[in-house]
Symmetry: C2
Subunit: 506 residues, 2 copies
Amino acid sequence: MTTIAGIDPRTGAALAPVAHVTTTEEVARLTAAADAAATDLRRLGRLFRADLLDALAGAVEERRDDLIRTASQETGFNDAKLGGELTRTVFQFRFFADVVRDGGYLEATVDPASDTPMGPRPDLRRMLVPIGPVAVFGASNFPFAFSVLGGDTASAIAAGSPIIVKAHSSHPATSQLSFEILRDAAAAVCSPAGTFGIVFGTRAGADLVADASIKAVGFTGSLNGGKALLEVIGTRSEPIPFYGELSSINPVIVTPGAAAERGADIGRGLIASITTGSGQLCTKPGLVLVPAGADGDRLVEAARSAVAGVPAQTLLNERIYTTYSEDTVAVGRSREIRQVGTGRPAGEGFSVAAKLFETTVEALGDGVIDEIFGPVTVVVRFSADSTTTSVTRALDTLSHSLTATLHTGPEESDLTRELTAVVEPRAGRVIYNGFPTGVAVSWAQTHGGPWPSTNSIHTSVGATAIRRFLRPITFQDAPESVLPEELRDNCTQIPRRIDGVLRVAD
Amino acid sequence: MTTIAGIDPRTGAALAPVAHVTTTEEVARLTAAADAAATDLRRLGRLFRADLLDALAGAVEERRDDLIRTASQETGFNDAKLGGELTRTVFQFRFFADVVRDGGYLEATVDPASDTPMGPRPDLRRMLVPIGPVAVFGASNFPFAFSVLGGDTASAIAAGSPIIVKAHSSHPATSQLSFEILRDAAAAVCSPAGTFGIVFGTRAGADLVADASIKAVGFTGSLNGGKALLEVIGTRSEPIPFYGELSSINPVIVTPGAAAERGADIGRGLIASITTGSGQLCTKPGLVLVPAGADGDRLVEAARSAVAGVPAQTLLNERIYTTYSEDTVAVGRSREIRQVGTGRPAGEGFSVAAKLFETTVEALGDGVIDEIFGPVTVVVRFSADSTTTSVTRALDTLSHSLTATLHTGPEESDLTRELTAVVEPRAGRVIYNGFPTGVAVSWAQTHGGPWPSTNSIHTSVGATAIRRFLRPITFQDAPESVLPEELRDNCTQIPRRIDGVLRVAD
């Protein structure tokens, strides 16, 4: 039986085995258990799931030190990053408990029987119900927030869907420990046995996605990984939704006014943003449009000076390390792009130096700038007397992104409006005078965008992430006794639309 | 240039040509115009679109007689069916105008900047925005309600997405006339030129779906047609959502109590339901579970007697006519299934006799009962002392459906609850003591269900059909002046969630 073990990225040494590769038969047993759990979870109801989410939050918090220690060894992330991520994860479980209690996500709607211009209308009552068992693929770069304990898990459980996680090979011990914490906390509140499952190995992940019991897939990872899973879905007799968060360049645009007002601050902020999580964030700015001229020069100089002080950054695994090393060398060799700054030299293991490159809008073309995971960005200079044209031209050479960021000056309302119109079709979140790294878990968040940043019209972070794992059902002229509680006449605890009029909860 | 012409299904004779097959170059021009219109429509805003929808309703109503005359000749439907469908279509445009004015569909959400357990949160404002140009495939069986004038068109325009319709070959003149009415009404209120487009021919439909400007596809048609378009989408570099409404058997379950109380009424109602629209409805009951014994016999006898009085039914086109003829002969030849009733004999053109078949649960197996378009259904008898087991066994041999219907008796609350749990995972709408044909356009409607009835977690009828053509966007720390009206501080005309609390419009 092939064993699964992590690697210490600080040294490159293999760690102790933590599991074995999940067999096809084991996957089938797990999905059968998830199927059974789906029915039982449904019966236990919405408020049970809210309490379950709170219990998961508490259990994770209780094991904070173990989790951080385990993840630190496997990922090379420092304790501050891991601690923040764990806090976010615990918050996220509690947040989704609130979302479930609020009940607005159910979109409960009651159309009483009536006469309409179309003729008599029966009594119709609609709400969203769980889609069924969900497969979640953990990401390398967020061992907590986008893995076993992450947003896909929290939102699927909130929806009422059991989940089976494919553990990421960069942190198998963290994944296994996370799974055990969830499983035990769920058992303690008598959640069905198949509420949580975990599998290890690429083949097991493909088996999972192909399994008839799985009704949706949540994936955070590479474009190629996403495409491979989409191909597996193509072989199913029943197609299922695939929610992939795949690839993002996250352009940052600095206007002439912003460069004049605070170029140096923006330059320093940029380097802080591209080195968060060693630059291994799907929202890392990969391209920064800066005006030519003295104000822009000050921005670049501040960034160069800031990056010079950045210590060597440890990357997550050999693949990311190799890709970063090769891609940054390739970019640096290009005639049109020059390296203008570098961090402190790399040390042992998967450690690298941060890099800052510079080029001009004229040098851009399709595919010249692609996503590079790690602490690197490319500054692109443009002529300040044609900002909107230059920005449009630059963005036209890029793939669409999760985010777009505008740094604008105080006297640039018209330009800000123009640039907003340019970036809006190309991103799912538009940030003003800040940086895209850092994705708050909240009601209004969107973490999703046009292809290839995602392939979905939904978000994977924030309250509405729950919608991915729900489907609508309508009961027509149903007797009160068979209706879900939330659709009965006397339910006033949740927002509902009644005869076309939205009403808030009592 | 190959011309496009309909066929009179009452005689089988070709009608006058109405258009030519749209070329690849023409498709490209139409999508470019739709792309330009998307930006302009966005700028015109939400209330403009509400007025546009009202204008479309008025223009269609004004041309009622022309539309019905044209559609009658091409489809063989009687004026009552066509008139009802047109009324529904006009109502639907006005309904979506109300949905747009209500504004709840925007899911407007404001999270003011604040401190959270995760740290400081920026100001985040989320709403749904149009996805971009949409391709709509008209259905054969609803020349108005699911074609150029139909629900996909109304909901996409409501969302703010220009549309290009692929006209169905069963009613090209109706499609062309419908398009002209929409185009002229839109022009009269100064909607952008590319708001509506139309194409003719299978190749043009594939070109449309492959075009980079098209951002979603709405399709009502056959499983094979849907699969063919999904394959075209698979060849795109950017995947897009495909909302297919494909195939549905729509089981009806009659409990022992219902058969005892009103078996004969149910039998008569069943025949009325399967002959609505000559049985060419995606919600037509294709299988009816009826208890063995005298009460069930009375139901079958009433159905047999009712079907005997059903006049010959004209089907839409040669393909449906041939498939109906072949499939009903094949079912009738099966050893285990016997024909128990038939309507009046077929006449000329694509006319057929209605058919009633009967078998037992024991004779069912995977694929024995599939969807047959047209006025036919199969009664399946089961032992009354094992209702839930028999029903489950029967449904396990069927594909999932848009609808499931329960006829239950007054003393059967427990059984009704049990059967609800059995059918709920297999359908998108559950009807009690009625029939599934007839789909009201309303806030709470769901017209969608598990594969292969649809491949979507959304509905194609009802207010929430609009969600298919929208994507979320979040503005972070945006200056008020760049925000859409609906996200500004002082907007109180629509429901919004502010800092987690849902508020209704003023």
